[in-house]
Symmetry: C2
Subunit: 208 residues, 2 copies
C-alpha cells in the first residue's frame, strides 16, 4: 500500500505571515496546496483557480449536495469550502496537502480527519502583530482594529491546535514547519502498516 | 516562568542501535541523559555513575520508600529504576532529558507524564535486525534467538509509542529524532504560558 500523505491545516492571526509561509512551503518543499471555492467576487488581481475557485451560489450549492467539500462555511453572505476531490487524491498519491483556512474550518477538519496536523501561526507578541498590520500600509486604523478584535476571538481556539508556531524569522519558521511535518510522518498512527509488517516478519523468523 | 524541558523516552529492539543513537543525541545536541539505578552487579568495563548507579537491594528499597524513582521495575531478580531527582531538576532547568528504558518502564512513564515523548527505535526490517545481532559477533546463536523472541513481545507495544523511528542510517536517524524533539517543543500543550500571555496582550491592546 502506498504511503498516504498528511493533511496539514494552517491557520493564524491576520498579519502573522500565513500567506507567505504557505507560499514558501509549496515552492521550497513541494507540498500540495488546496485552493478553496468561494461564492464571493474576485478582488482585483485575484486569479480563478489560483487564489480561489470562484463559483456561483448555484454551483456551490450543487457541490455541497454532491458531498464535494470536506468542509465549508458561510461568512457574512458568502460561502467558502475546501474541495474534497483534490485533497483526497493528493493524499492518496502520498502528497502532503496544505489547507490555509479559518479556525472554524480547522475544527471541522479535525473532527473528520483526527490525524490532520493543525498549526496555528502567530507573531511573537500582540504588539508585534499590531505593528505588522500597521506596517502593511494598505490598511487604515479601522481595518487594523477590526483585525486585532478578530485576533482576540481566534486566540481562544489556539490551544485546540496541535502546534503553535511563532513566526519571528520567516526562513526559520518555514524550516520549523517542514520539520514538524517530517516528524509527524513518524507518528505511530501513520506507521500502522509498517508495525504490522515487522510484527509479521518477526513471527516468521521466530518459527524458523 | 522558565520553559520546562521535555521528557524523552527511548525504547527499541535490541540490535536497533538505541545505545549509539542516545550517545549521539547527548554528545551532538547536549540532551541530558538519565542514568538508571540497578541492583545487578556491574559487568566488566561498566562504570558506576556512568553506565548505572549500582545500588545494594537495601539502598534501592530505601529509595523506593522515599519516592526516589519516577519508575522502577524488577527483571528476573534485579531491580532497575529511574531516579526522580535528576529528571525533575533537569526538566525544571529547561533541559530535555532522555531515558533509555524498556517497554514496561516507558508505559509507566506515560501514565505519570502524559506529555512525555515516547520513541521506539527499530531496524528497517526484522531480517535486518537479525543480521545486525548476528553481525555483532559477541552473541551466539542462542542469544540472538532470545533477543529475537523478546522483539516479538516488544513489537506488541510499538503502537503505544508516539513515534516509530527507523534506524536505517545512523546520522539521518539521530538528526530525525532531534527534529522530532524540536517539533514537540511547539506542541500547544507546551505553549500554555505563551498562549495565555498573547491572549492577555491582545485584550489589553483591544482596550486602548
Amino acid at each position: 500500500m502506498a504511503k498516504q500523505g498528511l493533511l496539514i491545516v494552517i491557520s493564524g492571526f491576520s498579519g502573522a505571515g500565513k500567506g507567505t509561509i504557505v507560499k514558501q512551503l509549496v515552492s521550497q518543499y513541494g507540498y500540495s496546496l488546496s485552493i478553496s471555492c468561494t461564492t464571493r467576487s474576485p478582488r482585483e488581481g485575484e486569479v480563478d483557480g489560483k487564489d480561489y475557485h470562484f463559483k456561483t451560489r448555484e454551483e456551490f450549492k450543487r457541490l455541497i449536495d454532491y458531498n464535494g467539500f470536506i468542509e465549508y462555511a458561510q461568512y457574512v453572505e458568502n460561502y467558502y469550502g475546501t474541495p474534497r476531490a483534490f485533497v483526497e487524491e493528493e493524499m492518496a498519491k502520498g502528497n502532503h496537502v496544505i489547507l490555509e483556512i479559518e479556525v472554524q474550518g480547522a475544527m471541522n477538519i479535525k473532527r473528520q480527519y483526527p490525524e490532520a496536523v493543525l498549526l496555528f501561526i502567530t507573531a511573537p507578541s500582540a504588539g508585534e502583530l499590531k505593528a505588522r498590520l500597521e506596517g502593511r500600509g494598505s490598511e487604515d486604523t479601522k481595518a487594523v482594529e477590526k483585525r486585532m478584535k478578530q485576533a482576540i476571538v481566534e486566540s481562544n481556539s489556539m490551544s485546540t491546535y496541535d502546534y503553535i508556531v511563532v513566526n519571528d524569522d520567516l526562513e526559520t519558521c518555514v524550516k520549523h514547519i517542514h520539520d514538524i511535518i517530517d516528524a509527524e510522518t513518524s507518528k505511530s498512527c501513520h506507521k500502522v502498516d509498517f508495525i504490522e509488517q515487522i510484527k509479521q516478519e518477526l513471527k516468521e523468523i521466530g518459527k524458523e
